[in-house]
């Protein structure tokens, strides 16, 4: 076990994957000499050379398209999109090519591509630097989508993503890069699937589902709720496509109440998918309709207002009060 930051854990996972498989190559803007604007690839070009850690021209469609070409020749590219908001020039290559090649070629062509995306807000950045675009990709068949919330998962899941023969979007909650945690670098990668959700905190009254940057916030909310006599079970999804509904369902059958929280906008978002799926699966176990605590349906706001947009502890607790039938911000609307 060693203690390291979230960012360092991704770096260590990338290094391990590169050591284990010479076909693993990294590509992206500023990832070489600089080690990326967040230093996630720090030192890797120095140690593995310019052919395996490539600074790319400034063109995201180019990065994605050429990564596909490398995959055709047996490589496992790991590409970095510098910030969430810069993935869109590559959207066409991701949706029309990366996602569909396996299907279009009757399984002959595999695209074992990993797309790393620092995402989410809370760091005081200007526009296009704080977005949560995961739902565009979970809506696209052919892609696997994951988001990790702690150094151990960061380390493990990046390697599982690289080992996956399907393309994986790996969303990194950039505001948690500096969070420290214990990492077992000898962990058995096969022991737990990349697709599985994890119960972070056990509880019996409310199931609180989240992923990525809001996992620590949800954990804090569970502690605060327990001071108030409410027992909250927190689930970190880890995999956003597909979602491990078995774990969520088992929890909701126990608690009868579901709150979902994410930074992304609400309408058409992952919260809607989770609420619908769980309602379908365990309607008769529900004591209250599922509640979503999310970002608003707005472009990510300028930094002075971002903490209104981002779900925080109090907003999550308000959601917990709603499903518990306690006094809450919308009580006056409830007939």
């Amino acid at each position: 076990m060693s203690s390291m930051t979230f960012g360092r854990a991704i770096n260590a996972g990338l290094r391990k994957a590169m050591e284990n498989d010479p076909k693993v190559v990294l590509m992206g803007e500023d990832i070489g000499k600089l080690g990326g604007v967040f230093r996630i690839t720090d030192g890797l070009q120095k140690d593995f050379g310019e052919h395996r850690v490539m600074d790319s021209p400034l063109a995201e469609a180019g990065i994605m398209g050429t990564a596909i070409g490398m995959a055709y020749r047996g490589y496992r590219p790991v590409v970095e999109i510098q910030f969430d908001g810069f993935i869109y020039p590559a959207f066409d290559q991701i949706v029309c090519q990366v996602a569909k090649l396996h299907y279009r070629t009757q399984g002959k062509v595999k695209v074992p591509l990993t797309i790393r995306v620092p995402f989410g807000g809370g760091i005081g950045s200007p526009e296009h630097h704080s977005e949560s675009p995961e739902a565009y990709f979970t809506h696209t068949s052919g892609l696997r989508v994951v988001s990790v919330s702690n150094p151990q998962d960061a380390y493990t899941v990046i390697q599982q993503a690289i080992a996956s023969d399907d393309p994986v979007l790996y969303f990194e909650p950039k505001r948690r890069y500096h969070v420290k945690g214990e990492v077992n670098e000898d962990i058995d990668l096969g022991a737990e699937s990349m697709g599985s959700a994890r119960v972070v905190t056990e509880g019996s009254d409310v199931t609180l589902v989240t992923y990525g940057p809001l996992v620590p916030t949800a954990r804090d909310a569970a502690v605060a709720a327990s001071d108030d006599g409410v027992s909250v079970e927190v689930i970190d999804l880890r995999s956003l496509a597909p979602i491990d509904f078995a774990t969520v369902e088992a929890s909701v059958r126990k608690t009868g109440r579901l709150v979902i929280t994410h930074e992304a906008a609400q309408s058409g978002g992952l919260g809607a998918e989770i609420a619908a799926s769980i309602t379908e699966r365990c309607f008769y176990y529900l004591e209250h309709a599922p509640v979503r605590i999310t970002g608003f349906d707005i472009p990510y706001p300028y930094s002075k207002l971002e903490f209104h947009h981002l779900p925080d502890l109090d907003r999550i607790l308000d959601g917990v009060d709603r499903v518990m039938g306690r006094t809450n911000s919308l009580s006056s609307l409830e007939g």
Partner: protein, 368 residues
């Protein structure tokens, strides 16, 4: 020196401030002593704006700032060539261009303080809100130019972008459209040698200006640290645009003397010697030398320029630190131009939520 560097360019003032002559002289024939002195003043003022904003960032008053240090001549020379009815589509570093367009000094810092998503009304100064998505604005300029043609007007659009941006599909598509419609557009590429940590050689194996002719667009390379030369080539391009000659591509060779932004540390990826080489080609120092030679660089003149720069910096700082904070409910504003049922409901719920928070705070207050 990378292959992308090694070629001639238009230069009217050498780095030591000597006036050379050539075919571009005719574009600056009217530049008399007063104009020279005002070009100098503008460059000094925008360098001062840049230094002040950098200081404001260090003091926590701005979240971020992308410095223009070193690029004053590219920006002032080109922007001073424009008419007020021309329209600018820039990236995020063109503070000098914004200054020439007459932007309010407080508006200059609004975005970087995190107080708004854009600093100014684009139609007040005919300059679009700066673009962060690399290269996207070049297409907007071309479309604006296409509309100018439809209107039968003789205005032009100019788009500013960097060496890194030239790799983006958008910029290449913009050139296709501009050529196809013969749009009155100027592609003004500030090749400041770096795209964050990536040297220009990673983006281009030939001088960037050489790409444009392949699209059917005439191009010119200019010494981007020579304000007379950037003024001259931009005027030539504008004349072509106004008279039905279509687009022009200008590559201004300059240097980003500072970090990419205040969040960047260039010592991680570039050599200090390079900075020294470019410092010797400083845009302001060379015009100062030329003014000196002409007997214009008097103590009075220097004092008046300094006073102007200090005034501007003071006004900008005051505007920045005294800027009104956004209202909470502004977070829901301007997403749509008309009511939207999804968003209206969220706004209503959030207002109710805030009211309960206030009540809770009041209750807590009461129990103390």
């Amino acid at each position: 020196m990378s292959p992308a560097q090694d070629e001639d360019f238009v230069q009217l003032l050498t780095p030591s401030g000597a006036r050379t002559s050539g075919e571009y002289d005719r574009w600056v024939e009217d530049v008399d002593d007063n104009v020279l002195m005002s070009l100098y003043e503008d460059m000094v003022v925008v360098r001062r704006i840049d230094a002040e904003a950098t200081a404001l960032q260090r003091q926590g008053e701005l979240a971020l700032w992308p410095p223009l240090l070193g690029q004053e001549a590219s920006q002032i020379g080109s922007a001073r060539a424009l008419r007020t009815d021309d329209f600018v589509f820039s990236s995020y570093r063109e503070h000098g261009v914004a200054y020439c367009r007459g932007v309010d000094l407080t508006d200059m810092t609004r975005v970087w303080r995190g107080n708004a998503s854009s600093g100014w009304d684009p139609f007040e100064i005919n300059m679009a809100t700066p673009q962060v998505i690399i290269g996207a604005q070049t297409l907007h300029a071309v479309g604006y130019g296409m509309a100018i043609i439809n209107d039968g007007d003789d205005a032009a659009a100019i788009t500013y972008f960097g060496d890194g941006a030239t790799s983006q599909g958008d910029v290449n598509e913009a050139m296709v459209f501009a050529a196809s419609y013969q749009a009155p557009v100027i592609f003004f590429c500030q090749n400041n040698q770096w795209a964050i940590s990536e040297p220009v050689g990673l983006q281009a194996h030939v001088p960037i200006a050489r790409r444009a002719p392949g699209f059917g667009i005439p191009s010119v390379r200019v010494d981007g640290n020579d304000v007379l030369a950037t003024l001259a080539v931009t005027r030539e391009a504008l004349e072509r645009a106004r008279t039905g000659g279509g687009p022009t591509y200008i590559e201004a060779l300059t240097y980003r003397m500072g970090p990419h932004t205040t969040a960047d540390d260039p010592t991680k990826y570039r050599d200090a010697n390079e900075l020294e080489d470019w410092a010797a080609k400083d845009p302001i120092a060379r015009l100062a030398a030329y003014l000196e030679e002409r007997g214009l660089f008097t103590e009075d003149f220097k004092a008046s320029v300094k006073a102007k720069a200090d005034d501007v910096a003071r006004e900008m700082r005051a505007g920045c630190v005294n800027m009104a904070e956004p209202e909470t409910m502004d977070v829901f504003k301007n997403v749509y131009s008309s009511p939207n049922s999804w968003l209206d409901r969220q706004q209503d719920h959030y207002a109710r939520y805030l009211a309960t928070i206030d009540d809770t705070a009041a209750d807590a207050e009461g129990t103390k």
